[in-house]
């Protein structure tokens, strides 16, 4: 039992094993260090100016990194599945997809948490609600970059720290077999025939989509006056709650299919994707409300601490190009450069036909970042007070 009893040969072989192990460990550490030395050699495009890097330099630089880390991109959201696959095959890159479920604040938190770490948990590119861009910039979490198509992007930060990628509007998603008359506008939702039928697709205290739902209702009531919209929106939903029309449940595809939530208010691209996915089981009707059409753009950015800065820039060159923007359209989301592309006639007619009629979008209201931030604060602080009287 005691160590004195062990044969000498065993003792030696254990020591040898330890030696070999230490040697292997040291070699591995050195090997890990080595490429870093090679990377900082001259020849790679400049990152600090924020100007667009020509593709012939960008693609090889990105390919030498080999990988892109994304976060919060569900495959069924605005056709991100196809966008991701196209990027992978077109540029021969791999993509490490983090946490598709993450919300905008989770994405910013991921950048913050991984500032010092270049590991696989550090995102390179983010896709956040426009209302979060202020925080992202204030906390120094994003790097500036202007893609080649910069000038045709209508909504962006002038220095290049963020830019809008796509937008949608809030629509009524209605289960046809359950509802005889599809509501046409926000005020219709208050009708007694829709008692216990109307739900939001998120939680007001946690989700941008739901805050915008309140805002859009308010916008409809005030006839377009944005300043009074938050208050009017809260009043609207108070009436919805008192009438019993509002079901306090977070709607998702499962609850729609099951029939619990016959009328759901969510982004058009999600509603249309639902319609495709459910394939008539049940049949869905999608209606853009007549008034109170609120556009909700999402903003893209590059992490200031990105482990793969070139791959990140290549991603944006791709996504903001005509090709990438059309992929958004395929997922029923309006690319932010829609108007420019329509003018140049690059939008295929069959793709455009799949969306709700363009006239419905003409009245879409695009709130500014400041408007979004202040209205968001007002709505979340007063939601429970106004609607539930707490």
């Amino acid at each position: 039992m005691s160590s004195n009893d062990r044969p000498l040969s065993r003792k030696i072989s254990r020591r040898d094993f330890l030696k070999v192990g230490a040697l292997a460990g040291a070699t591995a550490t050195l090997a890990a260090c080595a490429p870093k030395v090679a990377e900082t050699t001259a020849g790679l495009p400049d990152l600090t100016s924020g100007n667009s890097i020509p593709l012939d330099q960008l693609i090889p630089a990105a390919q030498s990194e080999g990988q892109l880390t994304t976060i919060a991109l569900p495959h069924d959201w605005a056709n991100y599945g196809e966008i991701i696959e196209t990027y992978k095959t077109k540029y021969n890159m791999t993509i490490n997809e983090l946490n598709p479920d993450a919300g905008s604040s989770d994405e910013l938190e991921a950048i913050r948490a991984n500032k010092e770490s270049k590991g696989p948990q550090a995102p390179d590119v983010i896709d956040i609600g426009v209302g979060h861009t202020a925080t992202a910039m204030a906390d120094g979490l994003v790097a500036k970059y202007k893609v080649a198509d910069w000038d045709t992007i209508p909504m962006k930060d002038p220095d290049g720290y963020w830019w809008a990628e796509y937008y949608g509007v809030l629509v009524f998603e209605v289960i046809k077999p359950a509802i005889a008359n599809t509501p046409q506008d926000w005020e219709d939702l208050l009708k007694p025939e829709y008692k216990g039928m109307v739900a939001m697709a998120g939680d007001v205290l946690k989700s941008n989509q739901s805050v915008q739902t309140v805002l859009a209702a308010g916008l409809s009531r005030t006839g377009g006056d944005f300043e009074k919209a938050p208050e009017a929106g809260l009043q609207f939903w108070k009436e919805m709650n008192e009438a019993g029309n509002f079901i306090p449940v977070i709607a998702d595809q499962g609850k729609i299919a099951q029939g619990e939530t016959p009328i759901v208010i969510e982004w058009d691209y999600l509603a249309l994707a639902n319609r495709d996915a459910l394939a008539g089981n049940p049949d869905l009707d999608i209606k853009v409300p007549t008034t109170g059409v609120l556009a909700g753009p999402y903003a893209g950015g590059i992490s200031a601490y990105a482990p793969h800065p070139y791959a990140a820039r290549l991603w944006w060159e791709f996504v903001m190009s005509d090709e990438g923007q059309l992929l958004y359209l395929k997922g029923y989301a309006h690319p932010i450069r829609f108007n420019d592309m329509a003018k140049r006639g690059v939008i295929p007619a069959d793709l455009a036909a799949k969306l709700p009629p363009a006239e419905a979008y003409e009245k879409a209201f695009f709130p500014s970042v400041e408007q979004l931030t202040s209205s968001k604060a007002y709505i979340t602080e007063n939601w429970r007070k106004v609607v539930y009287g707490e």
Partner: protein, 311 residues
């Protein structure tokens, strides 16, 4: 629990001889230090990954949105109406499910252990309770919405039989009571799992002795069984209370933040896309920790009282 110094000495000396080293007889003080070393890894791990992060909660409770030291959060949780309502709601749902879960769970445990059921039924119930007590979150919420929601199984049956429209009647399950019914799904089994061994521990001799002395069944329960079981029952009900208070996934999946609970509020403050006041979230968590700690102490205290009988 006292040490037997003679035996200790014998064992120590045996160990020394095994090691083949000649060491002086160990003083009790040295022995004490060496024993503590044995629990050191555990303590260090708990310190690094449990205490320090938890302590940061206390620290951050006093942090304002801009990072400065402030009492605003603590004051907020004691005064703001929606926060007070959240605590009230969480407390009510915990009390409801603790009492309801405790009561019916006890009956279930009684039914399978002492109700004269075939042995298989007891095994089935205990096994199933093990599964059901872990069934929570999104699937549980959906299961109940699919059962008693506006388009649920039971709702459709009722509508068919009584020819009424439940939706038009304005009946909604998304209330504290509705959520309580959902919570019972993991509260009943928990009660069963913990009470089953306790009921098992009621020795048949006691029942027989009672009958021999002329006592009725009621007297048996009133004077023998319940007094013995009471610490166990109370302790488990305290545990059920804590379990319900801390529940998050199920409540959120059921109705988001539309039902105002403390855990939901914490989630919204710390993690949501909309609110962002981690100081307040941490202060809320602090309040919750205090309540839960009281529960855990209560449970541990009751457990010790029980261990006299159930061995």
């Amino acid at each position: 629990m006292g040490n037997n110094p003679v035996l200790e000495e014998k064992i120590l000396t045996k160990r020394e001889s095994k090691k083949g080293s000649a060491q002086p007889a160990r003083s009790p003080r040295f022995d004490f230090n060496w024993a503590w070393l044995g629990v050191a890894p555990f303590f260090l791990f708990a310190l690094a990954f449990l205490f320090l992060p938890s302590f940061s909660i206390v620290v951050r409770s006093f942090q304002g949105v801009d990072g400065s030291f402030t009492f605003k959060n603590i004051i907020a949780i004691l005064t703001e109406s929606d926060i007070i309502n959240a605590y009230q709601a969480s407390l009510s749902i915990s009390v409801i499910t603790a009492i309801g879960g405790g009561f019916f769970g006890f009956l279930l445990a009684y039914a399978v252990i002492l109700g004269g059921m075939p042995r298989g039924m007891r095994t089935f119930m205990v096994t199933f309770s093990g599964v059901a007590s872990n069934f929570a979150g999104v699937p549980l919420a959906f299961a109940f919405i699919a059962t008693m929601g506006n388009a649920g199984l039971i709702t459709r049956w009722i509508e068919a039989i009584f020819e009424i429209n439940v939706r038009q009647m304005g009946f909604s399950i998304y209330t504290i009571w509705g959520l309580s019914i959902v919570y019972m799904y993991f509260q009943f089994p928990l009660m069963v799992l913990i009470m089953a061994p306790a009921l098992d521990g009621l020795r048949r001799e006691w029942r027989e002795a009672c009958e021999n002395l002329g006592g009725s069944a009621w007297q048996y329960w009133r004077y023998v069984a319940f007094p013995i079981l009471l610490p166990s029952i109370l302790g488990t009900m305290i545990l059920l209370f804590g379990n319900a208070f801390g529940a998050y996934a199920t409540a959120y999946a059921f109705s988001g933040s539309f039902i105002n609970l403390v855990t939901i509020l914490i989630g919204a403050q710390i993690q949501g896309d909309v609110l962002y006041n981690p100081g307040l979230g941490n202060a809320l968590a602090l309040g919750m920790i205090i309540i839960m700690s009281v529960c855990m102490f209560g449970y541990a205290y009751m457990q010790r009282k029980t261990s006299r009988w159930v061995r």
